[in-house]
């Protein structure tokens, strides 16, 4: 049986998704992001630590291969999957208020995928390839598929490329492997 105590302490353990009958995700996977790379060479994937307590390290990682898919594991036993995207991003939304004890607070986790146009890459570059951020193809004809996990809810939305968060671009984008049908979904992880 999974020990639920650590999850009960989390501010984000209540989700609008239907309750699961059993927890099949290893507790060590909850609140972690996994990027799976295209090709068969090792390492096949990159896994963050628990992003509630540790820096995800997403932006500082230099991936030398394109990403096939990313998965974010929820403590409910669900996982959010994005695959077939032209580029991917992951970031944490934090706030710090005057009168707030204990420093900054995590408000939400964001998974983002730039939808390809009919399976064709349009020249988007990762931030590492294009250090003069935000020098990237703008506007892009496809929207950004976005998942927000926070305040007890999982919300899916689409935003225009270059205006994906707060009406402005974000940094940390990494290239994806396109060609397969784009997928953006939440599943019960078995």
């Amino acid at each position: 049986m999974m020990n639920l105590a650590p999850l009960a302490a989390s501010p984000f353990h209540r989700f609008t998704a239907s309750p699961v009958e059993s927890f099949t995700v290893s507790p060590s996977l909850a609140w972690r992001l996994r990027a799976t790379f295209a090709g068969k060479l090792p390492p096949r994937s990159y896994m963050t630590p628990d992003v509630r307590r540790a820096n995800p390290g997403w932006d500082s990682e230099v991936f030398n291969r394109k990403i096939e898919q990313i998965e974010f594991f929820l403590p409910t036993g669900h996982k959010i999957i994005l695959s077939g995207m032209e580029a991917y991003n992951f970031f944490i939304e934090a706030t710090q208020a005057m009168s707030e004890r204990g420093g900054a607070r995590i408000e939400a986790f964001w998974l983002c995928g730039l939808l390809p146009v009919r399976g064709e890459a349009l020249g988007v570059k990762s931030d590492q390839e294009s250090p003069s951020f935000p020098s990237r193809l703008t506007p892009h004809p496809s929207p950004v598929e976005m998942w927000r996990i926070g305040q007890g809810k999982v919300i899916r939305q689409q935003k225009p490329w270059g205006r994906e968060w707060g009406g402005a671009p974000t940094r940390g984008w990494k290239l994806g492997q396109i060609g397969a049908l784009p997928v953006s979904t939440i599943l019960h992880a078995h």
Binding site: F90, F91, I92, Q96, S99, A168, P169, T170
Partner: protein, 218 residues
């Protein structure tokens, strides 16, 4: 990028100089002096002209007076400095419509980031640090445009006018961008803020509104 540490500071002089001490504050450019805000205990106070720099924080407080007509910019801005036990004046806060030295000045309040962000940092105002509602009477009672708090980002330049209008602060719907893009590394972000009270304002005796910094990291 790792999660950046942030430090809020204010310039308690009438000298418009940058915060060169970053997270530590202290003496800055052009003989300015930067004081680190204790976010747990210090408070931003908009008070009447009768309040004097250095007054005891436990002594008399002089609230702003609601005008008979039109609106007023609250004359003076202070930080209720809990550790020093005084009202420490922020002389450059606000515009020339107030009662201080503010105007077309740039270096008034600062938020220092010690690392990069994944998006533009925003300054917002909320009813409380729950960040769930922004309809306090001081924030306009619903319409964000009616918020009494008006702020302007001065990270890149002076406001351009000594009587800058600013953006009303209320939730995410009406807030200011503290820079023009995600931060590529450590940086001081600057802003100025004022309170404008209309004649129609209902006196308030209690409020827990907060200023909030919102940012991204990855």
């Amino acid at each position: 990028m790792a999660k950046p540490n942030t430090t809020w500071l204010y310039n308690n002089t009438a000298n418009d100089g940058a915060n060169t001490g970053n997270a530590s504050g202290g003496a800055g450019g052009s003989d300015s002096n930067w004081v680190v805000l204790d976010l747990s205990n210090d408070k931003l106070m908009f008070l009447d002209s009768q309040q004097t720099d250095g007054d005891s924080r436990t002594g008399t407080k002089f609230p702003a007076i609601i005008p008979d007509a039109d609106s007023i910019e609250v004359p003076k801005t202070f930080v209720d400095d809990y550790s020093a036990e005084i009202f420490d004046q922020v002389p450059l806060a606000g515009t020339t419509n107030g009662g201080q030295s503010g105007g077309n000045t740039r270096y008034v309040f600062a938020i220092y980031f010690d690392g990069a962000t994944a998006g533009i940092p925003y300054l917002e105002a909320w009813n409380s640090n729950a960040h769930a509602a922004s309809d306090d009477d001081f924030l306009g009672g619903g319409p964000p445009a009616n918020s009494t708090l008006k702020a302007i980002a001065t990270t890149g330049a002076v406001p351009g006018s000594a009587t800058w209008a600013g953006t009303p602060l209320a939730g995410t719907g009406s807030r200011i961008s503290l820079d023009t893009a995600a931060l590529g590394g450590a940086k001081n972000l600057y802003f100025n803020i004022k309170q404008v009270i209309p004649s129609t304002f209902t006196p308030q005796s209690d409020s827990s509104i907060v200023l909030t910094l919102r940012y991204l990291y990855s």
